[in-house]
């Protein structure tokens, strides 16, 4: 069907930066002596967010196991004409397949490493009930209005933005700008920069919710620790969303000029029965990034609603 798999395997050899031994390299620093995170970074990974159940508590692959796992994950599956999966464009046609993008190696079997099974903890009964209610409502009203569509479709928040900032299938690059008192994450996907003050300023009032929450950063040695509060109750993992009382703590460690170890913990007792933590590496890449400008080109949401109206005409 395609030679793409072979090509992808060759690319992987070129693009993947192995992490082993990287800690010994000197890291770049800013004028005030802090680790310099500036530049373009790729969050692309083959590591699943949650660990496959079949792996149980196995937290790490061996390098050999990882190579086999990665090869399997990067293999391109061709869709079959006449199936729902085929009603789509080809990701590799647009350079969007993970095998076509810079990525760091992560021997973990899942991004989540706590709980020990590498999977999200159970929801609280209240959160589970809320999720069921939202899903039922969505099934009934998803196409009633543009405002009823999910935040991604409305060009508001994607998992890239976080926090925690999580990779998806494509467009996983970010540009970092850093000064003595601010760090800015400009994700490739969505248009709003995430601005993190580092100057110890007072937090904003708890009543002020923000799409990305309110983040404050401080240095713990060479690790930047960012604490985020002030969630809206509308973001997180979409369903379930994080509660407005959720707290996300992120740790950014520049392991080498080429890799950032990104770690995070989500504490949201109103939603999950326990906290959960994860980590992956960001890999240095090249820019520039193309401005996402999602709202300007978002014909898709109009088309989805138009299709729904047409269906209503057919079903009186």
């Amino acid at each position: 069907m395609t030679s793409f798999t072979v090509r992808a395997a060759g690319l992987a050899l070129v693009l993947v930066s192995l992490h082993a031994g990287a800690q010994d390299e000197a890291i770049p620093r800013t004028g005030n002596g802090k680790p310099d995170f500036q530049g373009y970074w790729s969050m692309t990974t083959v590591t699943p967010f949650e660990r496959p159940v079949s792996l149980g508590d196995k937290a790490f692959f061996t390098p050999e196991e990882f190579a086999a796992f990665e090869a399997e994950r990067l293999e391109v599956e061709e869709t079959v004409q006449g199936t729902q999966a085929d009603v789509h464009y080809g990701f590799d046609d647009y350079g969007l397949h993970p095998s076509q993008n810079v990525r760091a190696t992560n021997l973990r079997t899942s991004i989540i490493y706590e709980p020990a099974n590498g999977r999200l903890p159970d929801m609280t009964p209240e959160a589970a009930a809320m999720r069921a209610e939202k899903q039922a409502w969505y099934a009934e009203h998803a196409t009633d209005s543009a405002k009823n569509r999910m935040l991604q479709e409305r060009c508001i928040v994607w998992p890239h933005n976080g926090p925690p900032m999580l990779p998806t299938g494509y467009n996983n690059n970010a540009k970092v700008i850093q000064t003595a008192d601010h760090l800015v994450f400009m994700q490739e996907m969505m248009q709003d920069p995430r601005i993190i003050p580092l100057d110890g300023r007072d937090p904003v009032a708890a009543s002020i919710g923000q799409w990305y929450g309110h983040s404050v950063g401080q240095w713990d040695g060479d690790t930047l620790v960012v604490t985020t509060t002030n969630f809206t109750g509308l973001t997180g993992r979409q369903i379930p969303t994080f509660s407005t009382d959720a707290v996300v703590t992120e740790r950014f460690t520049l392991e080498s000029p080429e890799t950032i170890l990104y770690q995070f913990t989500v504490e949201d007792p109103a939603t999950f029965v326990s906290h959960w933590s994860g980590e992956f590496r960001m890999q240095k890449t090249t820019g520039p990034m193309f401005e996402y400008a999602c709202h300007e080109g978002n014909y898709g949401i109009v088309d989805v609603l138009s299709a729904a109206r047409a269906a209503e005409q057919e079903t009186p």
């Binding site: 079959v80 085929d86 789509h88 464009y89 046609d93 467009n171 978002n298 014909y299 898709g300 088309d303």
Partner: protein, 130 residues
Amino acid sequence: MHSRLLIATLVLGLLPAASQAHHAFASSFDVNLPLELHGTVTRVELINPHSWIHIDVVNDEGVTESWRIEGGSPNALFRNGITKNSIPVGSELIITGYGARDGTLRAVGANITFADGRPVFFGGTKAPEE
């Protein structure tokens, strides 16, 4: 037929799989409306969240119809030097895909080639050189 993205549904878990492409293609296009279009490029919009290629197609009655074809986010294309000029206006394209549920002249392009069979964009032949 095209490449499927396996990783995305695992990352986002609870979200509908189709939302990985920013919006639900299955909500907009109909698997029961497969089509093949032969047309001439009139305009190319390499924009987010999705690209659009506009083509003129002469239908079976000899009437020219203006179609728009939905594709992927163009960010990786730009990083690899591919612009809208890579599909010049006037190019002849062959598009297989699926038509719109609302009956308008638009389609999702599951497979797009130039008339001579060359793939458009990466198309399984051009690799990024990052």
